[in-house]
Symmetry: C2
Subunit: 323 residues, 2 copies
DNA sequence: TTGAAAGCGCTAACAT
DNA sequence: ATGTTAGCGCTTTCAA
């Protein structure tokens, strides 16, 4: 020590009592002069805390492929930086339905799962004892704390909007990547239709799809049928974009000949031509919220799961139906 | 210890010699049974290594706002995960032209700077002793190792392409966010023009701009002038997108009435209508390369800076000039 | 081949 | 109010 003691320095650094004003000033002066910064690695060992948050994403939904998860990640980053945490991006070990090593080496203070997780994974996470939250979850289990967009409501809003524009022949192209997501959106669609005493034909709800290209094909099937729908509700924006391309290629005008709406409001939605009408959610906020809930858990709390509303964003890809 | 010693366990864990096959097997068995994983935090202290890489971005170019940096970040993440590093996203302290605390607390093994850095920052980074690389740098200094897209070449390619299509009245909308970037693209543009013995009018190169909205206005100025150019070279894709909107609003067809090309090939470029012709670079690869160079530095090497070629990607926003 | 012990940089309990 | 000391979990000399 360049001056006096050692516990003293610790007290000064952490603004703790137990040291006279005089020594405090003295020590502080030396700290300022030398630019001394305490080594975080020793604290990590002492408190067995890594200051790392592990963001877990399935490889087929990398946040850096999928613009949706990418925005959520931004929110997570905002908050984690604010609180002095780093993030590391990882993926589950799918063959064994297990978590990666990083979880078991003390290098993770908390986990954020993107998209739904399997029951096996949830169990492993619980038994690891590490706090975790699931964001963009599709189930509201009381066993895990999660942040859930209201996808049922989203599909309901989208369908209601189309109905209010006078559309009656509405078909749906839904994602079958996550089963519960599909169930929720279909049920939202059907309840809106029901309010108008409408019962869509089976083929109008049967289109379920994984990629933009598949959405293109599904749209083709619908739009070339003899009784083609006047509106398309796509469960994911990127499908709506695929459907728009298909419509154009078929010589159909959007929205005059066919109205199309999506769900999610990804960045792209503002750049399509016409601009995509969709049902959106504040994804950055969603990420921030997930991180906040996680921090609460890390500090020993047991926060409530959150269900977030989704809001219709009217742009140019849907219009009034004229006979 | 559930079996024998303690040094032994360390040897077994790290596959080091100095322990009999018998004890090795015995210990290994216990490790497997108990699922024991060594605590990383103690290694961090012992080796004074954090296994964190700090990605430094200026706030006005957040990788999660800017699709360009976002793709680079993906590359960085790929490689860092592969090597057991976490990343933390931070920004310089601009008021003081200094690095954030995280650099000085032993919580960073290496730094990746996005975009160019100031001389002051470079100096601070060097004197911190922490290995760093600059990605998407615009200068090839031998003091810092960097990954440089060849922006001069990019502008040259774009201009040459337009010239080869018969365009002679080509105007440029360039970014003035980073000075050296602007210099390089302008010089690339001018050398291509010179090969055709063309010397663009001052107002054809004077448009320099920071945002999509400003690009829209710059395009408006150019396209409403009495001798409007037949082609626009935009130094950044997002400017090209702004210019395309402007052209449409003015009733001009792209590319029939006005050819537009960009630089960067961001994700959006494939989704515009018409699809954007641009000069691209493999951004994920760029990030991976930056991370590889950084790892070499961390291990004590002194890697060479890399200059990466950019390639013309012909899509639909430029066509042959007809008088 | 094995075990004992020091030490990485800090905090906190304890003794002074 | 201050100084001394143990200890976080590991690796690595060093001695047996």
């Amino acid at each position: 020590m360049a001056g006096v003691s050692m516990t003293a320095v610790s007290f000064v650094l952490n603004n703790k009592p137990g040291v006279s004003d005089e020594t405090r000033k003295h020590v502080q002066k030396i700290i300022d002069e030398t630019g001394f910064k305490p080594n975080l690695n020793s604290k990590k060992l002492l408190f067995n805390k890594s200051f790392n948050i592990c963001v877990m994403i399935s490889p087929d939904a990398s946040p850096f492929e999928d613009l949706f998860y990418f925005e959520i990640t931004r929110g997570i980053l905002n908050k984690s930086r604010e609180h002095g945490y780093n993030i590391s991006i990882n993926e589950p070990v799918y063959e064994e339905d297990d978590l990666p090593d990083v979880i078991y080496t003390g290098d993770t203070d908390g986990i954020i799962f993107m998209q739904d997780i399997s029951d096996g994974l949830a169990e492993k996470a619980i038994s690891s004892g590490i706090p975790f939250v699931v964001v963009d979850s599709h189930s509201l289990s009381d066993k895990v704390t999660s942040v859930n967009p209201n996808y049922h409501g989203a599909a309901y809003s989208a369908a209601s909007y189309l109905l209010s524009l006078g559309h009656r022949d509405i078909a749906m192209i839904s994602s079958n990547v996550v089963q519960r997501f599909q169930e929720q959106t279909i049920s939202g669609f059907l309840s809106a239709m029901q309010e108008y005493r409408l019962k869509p034909a089976p083929e109008a709800v049967a289109q379920s799809v994984r990629t933009e290209a598949e959405a293109y094909e599904a749209a083709k099937a619908l739009l070339t049928a003899k009784d083609r729908p006047t509106a398309l509700l796509c469960t994911v924006d990127i499908f709506a974009i695929g459907a728009m391309h298909c419509a154009k290629d078929l010589g159909l005008r959007v929205p005059e000949d066919i109205s199309i709406v999506g769900i999610d409001d990804i960045v792209l939605a503002r750049y399509t031509d016409p601009k995509l009408t969709t049902v959106g959610i504040d994804k950055v906020h969603m990420g921030e919220l997930a991180m906040e809930l996680l921090l609460q858990k890390i500090e020993g709390g047991s926060p409530m799961s959150a269900s977030l509303p989704m809001e219709l964003i009217v742009r140019d890809s849907a219009c009034i139906h004229r006979n």
